[in-house]
């Protein structure tokens, strides 16, 4: 055995000590440092701040640790309203946007000449600013000049005061939310569809299955893991709804302050009222709500994808 070979074989089964990790750690350091500063530290700091009572951001002074901020947030009427609004938003936006995205993904998955065009068209919202798009939606929903009211009037219906009537404003927000959630969902579902072995679809056809049956019995079950993933990601995103609200109502939480969401509440506590403690407490409360719901969803989905 040559010397070089022998050295290599010794290297291969070298004993693992703390020193073994030193070199890889060095390579990972830039990432670890940046994620520590910008993600991990703020996350834990938010915990700490939420427990500091009468915390002043500028001086850093506080009167002691306790659950006062949580008590304030969880009994605050605006926060309860924000939570209700957010849950309503999630319950409408996530299922509808997933269903519509599935429809679009299936259509896109068929090889057509216009496929490239449609792909670009549907993915465009993903690369445009939510605020800019929000302005466009504001125009679409405009009472006097909006395209939506124009279509409604042509259909013989009365014009709707979308952005100033609280109950219609909620619908407007949900419609915009569904639209803005679709591109990312379509990308994920399309990737999932393309991973399904075509042979199963052909086998089903030979078994006598009509296209709708094949979709229901083969495509959807095989896509279930992807659908589950998009539902979780979308649920988390939807719980954090803010941009859509901010853009659609010109920085206000809907007409007559009726459309508070949890993040808008947090934003207001932080930027407008400078109450860092309650802002952090509301963020942590949202974190636990989302985490619990995600865990429930994951548990339920385990039953789906058992192959």
């Amino acid at each position: 055995m040559s010397l070089q070979k022998r050295k290599k074989s010794i290297d291969a089964d070298v004993k693992i000590t703390y020193k073994t990790y030193l070199k890889p750690l060095l390579y990972l350091l830039p990432f670890i440092i940046s994620i520590s500063i910008f993600t991990i530290y703020p996350f834990f700091n938010a915990f700490v701040i939420s427990l500091k009572e009468n915390y002043k951001a500028l001086s850093g002074s506080f009167t002691g640790f306790g659950f006062g901020n949580y008590e304030y947030v969880l009994t605050n009427e605006t926060f309860i309203l924000a939570l209700k609004n957010t849950i309503t938003y999630v319950l409408w936006v996530v299922p509808i946007s997933t269903a519509l995205s599935l429809l679009v993904a299936v259509l896109l998955n068929r090889r057509t000449k216009l496929q490239a065009f449609f792909q670009t068209a549907y993915f465009l919202p993903l690369v445009t600013s939510a605020i800019a798009i929000g302005l466009v939606w504001r125009w679409l929903f405009n009472f006097d000049y909006g395209l939506i009211n124009f279509v409604l009037s042509r259909l013989g219906a009365d014009a709707i005061n979308w952005l100033n009537n609280p109950s219609y404003a909620k619908i407007a927000l949900i419609v915009y939310g569904i639209w803005s959630m679709m591109p990312f969902t379509i990308i994920l579902l399309l990737a999932g569809l393309q991973n399904i072995n075509k042979q199963y679809l052909i086998a089903a056809q030979v078994d006598g299955s009509r296209p709708t049956q094949t979709f229901a019995y083969i495509t959807v079950p095989l896509l279930a893991p992807t659908i589950g993933l998009t539902m979780i990601v979308n649920m988390i995103t939807a719980f954090k709804v803010f941009n859509e609200l901010f853009a659609l109502f010109n920085g206000k939480p809907g007409p007559a302050y009726s459309l508070y969401t949890v993040i808008y509440f947090m934003y207001e506590q932080f930027y407008v009222k400078y109450r860092l403690g309650t802002a952090a407490a509301s963020a942590i409360a949202l974190f636990f709500i989302v985490m619990i719901l995600t865990l429930i969803q994951l548990y339920m989905q385990r039953k789906w994808k058992n192959y």
Binding site: N197, Q199, Y200, I202, A203, A204, Q205, V206, D207, G208, S209, R210, Q213, Y217, I218, P221, L222, A224, N306, Y307
Partner: protein
């Protein structure tokens, strides 16, 4: 059900995968589509199933023209090479699927399924998912799923290629048994001539999309129309010696003796002499001499390889005294000896 194909053709761009193939497959028979890879046999199967539209030609099921009928309306059973069992369904759900989509009530479809399940012996793992089954078990499930809708035609695409050697022999007998018991006309694709010869009633041999010969196993072995057929079928591979026709008979390259045959061939024609190993006899009715190169024990017989001309010949013998290096006289039986035109491969004798 009788299946008739007329001038069936499939073109992919400039490439012709199946080239004007016509045949009749009789009711209740097991037919093999045989040929080397890329000969168009799977393409033909896909056209029969309706997955692939044909470019030209017609397909008839009995007297009904099904050429333009889509796969879901043809009522054929198809077993894929990798079985294509639905991974999210259990064995029972897989088997019942064709009935489920036809709206058969659950109780009734399980009742029907059980009959077939007993036929193919998969009753022990009905609740398992396909991923938990071995290749042989998956294949049985795939066959059951294909049979349950009572197809008039069962198509199998390389059904044995994913199995190990021992299981392959077992499963091909199993396919034969299931086919006999169900009585369904069955067409299966294979590139293995032994597999095709061992279980099928007749074989269609294809080469580059062109039908070479269609007939019973005996037909193809004892009466090949061309060198390709003679070469493709039979174990060991048919002996081949290049040579020329000189008035009375065949003269192998590098030899002087004339092996006479009772046939009219223009003098000087380049020929290939081909004979089955079992058609040669050693030290009897000597027609030419050859030297023993090797000998092997095959069962109760001895297989010897003889040097003759520029090629070699295999022959069986029961004579145990034969040694390597011996010069023996070789005679021929009245079957399994052919002459082919070297250029075209056309059979002349």
């Amino acid at each position: 059900m009788k299946v008739t194909i007329k001038e069936l053709t499939k073109k992919f761009g400039d490439f012709t995968a199946v080239d004007h193939v016509s045949a009749e497959f009789d009711d209740g028979k097991l037919i093999a589509l045989l040929g080397p890879s890329g000969c168009g046999k799977t393409t033909m199967l896909n056209m029969l199933s309706g997955i692939l539209p044909s470019t030209e030609g017609k397909i008839f099921f009995d007297d009904e023209d099904v050429t333009d009928l889509s796969a879901d309306k043809r009522g054929v059973g198809l077993v894929f090479q990798n079985y294509a069992l639905y991974p999210h369904m259990t064995v029972l759900e897989n088997v019942c699927f064709p009935l489920r989509i036809r709206g058969v009530p659950k109780k009734e479809r399980i009742e029907k399924a059980m009959k077939f399940i007993n036929l193919v012996h998969i009753e022990d793992y009905l609740d398992r998912k396909p991923a938990e089954l071995s290749g042989g078990q998956q294949q049985r499930v795939a066959i059951t799923r294909a049979l349950i809708k009572k197809p008039k035609l069962l198509l199998l695409d390389e059904p044995l290629s994913n199995l190990d050697a021992k299981l392959r022999v077992e499963m091909r007998e199993e396919i034969r048994r299931i086919q006999k018991e169900s009585g369904v006309t069955t067409i299966f694709v294979t590139h293995d001539q032994e597999e095709a010869s061992s279980i099928s009633d007749s074989i269609m041999l294809l080469k580059r999309g062109v039908q070479q010969q269609f007939g019973t196993v005996d037909d193809l072995c004892d009466n090949p129309v061309n060198l390709f057929t003679a070469d493709f079928l039979g174990t060991p591979t048919i002996n081949q010696v290049h040579g020329t026709w000189s008035e009375k008979g065949f003269v192998a390259d590098g030899q002087t003796e004339i092996i006479s045959f009772n046939v009219n061939i223009p003098t000087g024609t380049r020929l290939i002499y081909a004979s089955r190993a079992e058609a040669l006899k050693l030290n009897q009715d000597k027609q030419f001499e050859a030297e023993i190169l090797e000998k092997y024990k095959v069962g109760k017989d001895t297989l010897v390889r003889l040097k003759y001309g520029n090629g070699s010949l295999r022959a069986y013998t029961e004579d145990k005294t034969i040694q390597i290096g011996d010069i023996v006289g070789v005679g021929m039986k009245d079957f399994g000896v052919f002459l082919f035109e070297a250029e075209s491969g056309k059979r002349l004798l």
